[in-house]
């Protein structure tokens, strides 16, 4: 920094920018962000990016190895599965399903959680009491077991316009995940609601919904972004676990978890069927965790404490 002082203004400006960019780049999790963009891109543009049809297999080309293995072909970069379906194509479509499930779950769970958290923190009293007891119960319920019960009993009859069995999974996950949002939002509201600017808004005659929406809510947005990012990975893990157990996204829809399950019986002859979708889950969730940690440090260092519990 010191030698910049002697530089001319123009030079100083340019060198500072280059340096700051460099420094930022070093701290930003480049690889996770890149991988996440890749997953999102693949998921959103799956029909255009994927080299093949995810549901149509070519039985003559079944269990073809990935391209870098002997007798692998460029046609099937990551090989084919036991029905001759292209693994890369299915991994790409799997990204789509994972993203949809995560996005819808977090939208529903997040909205419910934020609204209930705002109410609990703002009103206090018996409203707070009821909401917090609901939180306790939701946390005490063994989620995966409940999901199994729901899927086996009503999964097949769940209406199509609600997304069928996948929609049911989303609802179960959302009915659990709102808790994470509610607790943190409530805590934030308790801190913010006694601040002077909130009192001022009250004196100025703002209605309660208006205060909550325009004065309290903006104060919790940073926290929300961080919580949501860290929860995406969790939703993807639970959804894939359920799909693996046969109680998640129903076949033939290509979901990462059920693809791993498909390959289980063919490990000796075709290890790639199980391996590839698992690698996709691992990389996506690792990237989400690293990116979330970085966001947390950037946006809301206090959360380190909250997230620990």
């Amino acid at each position: 920094m010191l030698d910049n002082v002697v530089d001319s203004d123009a030079l100083k400006a340019s060198s500072v920018t280059i340096r700051t960019i460099f420094r930022r780049l070093r701290r930003t999790p480049v690889i996770p962000v890149f991988l996440l963009s890749l997953v999102v891109f693949a998921g959103v543009f799956a029909p255009w990016v994927a080299p093949d049809n995810p549901r149509k297999g070519d039985l003559r080309a079944r269990m073809a190895p990935p391209v870098w293995v002997e007798s692998g072909t460029v046609e099937h970069m990551l090989g084919t599965d036991h029905l001759g379906r292209d693994v890369l194509t299915r991994v790409i479509y799997g990204a789509k399903i994972s993203l949809i499930v995560a996005a819808v779950t977090l939208s529903i769970g997040g909205t419910v959680g934020v609204v209930l958290g705002l109410m609990a923190g703002w009103y206090g009293g018996w409203i707070d009491e009821i909401i917090m007891r609901l939180v306790d119960i939701a946390l005490a319920v063994p989620l995966v077991l409940v999901a199994l019960v729901m899927v086996v009993s009503i999964g097949k009859d769940f209406p199509d316009w609600l997304g069928g069995q996948t929609g049911l999974i989303v609802l179960v996950l959302a009915s659990w995940i709102w808790v994470r949002f509610a607790r943190i939002v409530r805590g934030e509201v308790l801190q913010i609601k006694n601040m002077d600017y909130v009192a001022l808004a009250k004196v100025a005659g703002a209605s309660t919904p208006r205060i909550l929406a325009f004065h309290i809510f903006p104060g919790v947005i940073n926290t929300l972004i961080v919580v949501a990012t860290l929860q995406v990975g969790w939703v993807i893990l639970v959804e894939s676990t359920l799909s693996f157990l046969g109680a998640g996204v129903p076949p033939p829809t290509p979901a990462w978890g059920s693809m791993v399950a498909d390959g289980r019986d063919y490990l000796a002859g075709a290890w790639w069927i199980s391996t590839m979708p698992g690698v996709a889950i691992l990389l996506t969730v690792i990237s989400l965790n690293l990116f979330g940690d970085w966001l947390r440090d950037k946006l809301d260092p206090r959360l380190r404490q909250l997230a620990a519990d």
Partner: protein
């Protein structure tokens, strides 16, 4: 203290009742169970007789009450596919699940804790980096996939251990590692940060200034205090190990409760599934209750907070 205990107990009972109510309601929503037990060509009379013998002609509240009474006695009816009483299917598999849970628990302690200590005392070393990697993967990798990869390398490729089942003594290794992996990562992180905190404290500095040898400082002074967080975490682990056994047992065909739940899902065997889920839920909630009580006993701030 008493108030706290009562509150926790009430929460546990309410949750258990809600889970049982959910299971009961789901069975009724999904359609008349008697149609599942009888073929399509049976007469209306046979169907009616069956409904009466199953108690389906009674009101829902009465049915729920009977369901609860039977559940308390461990009577969950007959498995549809296996044609045996669900209660006996569950009891004969309990031992296998407990065995696996214990093995995974020991694995997570005896691997996770030393790793945590070493990565704390050799901070930023290769060891520490390695520890961080283990923790990150433990947090992010789906357990079912870890299990399959372990099976592929150590059973299929190397042939060191059997790929599945419970016939040989070595059969337990892979499922236990699969189940314990996440908790190795958790213990590692907990012990590492606790060790770093303790090593930074005044009394360690004093011990160092007094000239106490380094191994003694680490193992006698610091390690003991750093053990508190993983020990409290151990309780939480117990509850999660139970649900985690679902995945590990399914991957390795370990004949325990988790695999039974998987089979019930695969065969849509609802009576079996409800029995297993209620058994799991009882263990899960009981161990969580136990942990909270122990916590409160150890840490007065929770009792009165």
């Amino acid at each position: 203290m008493q108030r706290f205990l009562l509150r926790r107990l009430a929460l546990t009972v309410v949750t258990l009742l809600l889970v049982s109510l959910l299971i009961f309601l789901m069975a009724r929503i999904s359609g008349d169970p008697s149609t599942l037990l009888i073929d399509d060509y049976a007469s209306a009379k046979t169907l009616e007789d069956l409904r009466i013998s199953l108690g389906l002609d009674k009101s829902y509240t009465e049915q729920y009450w009977i369901f609860l009474k039977n559940a308390v006695r461990g009577d969950f009816g007959q498995s549809i596919v296996q044609k045996r009483s669900v209660g006996s299917l569950i009891t004969e598999r309990l031992v296998a699940t407990f065995q696996l849970g214990l093995a995974a628990f020991l694995f997570s302690i005896f691997v996770g804790v030393p790793l945590g200590v070493f990565s704390a005392i050799k901070r930023d070393s290769l060891m520490d980096q390695l520890g961080k990697l283990v923790a990150l993967i433990g947090q992010s990798a789906p357990p079912f996939w870890i299990g399959i990869m372990l099976m592929f390398f150590f059973a299929v490729r190397l042939g060191w251990v059997p790929p599945s089942g419970r016939q040989e003594a070595t059969s337990i290794i892979l499922p236990a590692v699969t189940l314990g992996w996440f908790f190795v990562a958790a213990n590692l992180r907990l012990v590492r940060s606790a060790m770093l905190d303790v090593l930074d404290s005044e009394y360690i500095k004093l011990a160092r200034a007094k000239g106490v040898p380094r191994p003694k400082i680490i193992w006698k002074h610091a390690f003991r205090n750093a053990l508190i967080p993983p020990l409290t975490f151990a309780g939480i682990t117990l509850g999660s190990l139970i649900t985690g056994s679902l995945v590990a047992e399914t991957v390795f065909a370990w004949p325990g409760l988790g695999q039974l739940a998987y089979l019930a899902v695969r065969d849509s065997d609802y009576p079996l599934l409800q029995g297993v889920v209620i058994t799991f839920a009882v263990f899960y909630l009981a161990s969580n209750l136990l942990v909270d009580v122990l916590y409160a006993y150890v840490d007065p701030r929770i009792r009165f907070g």
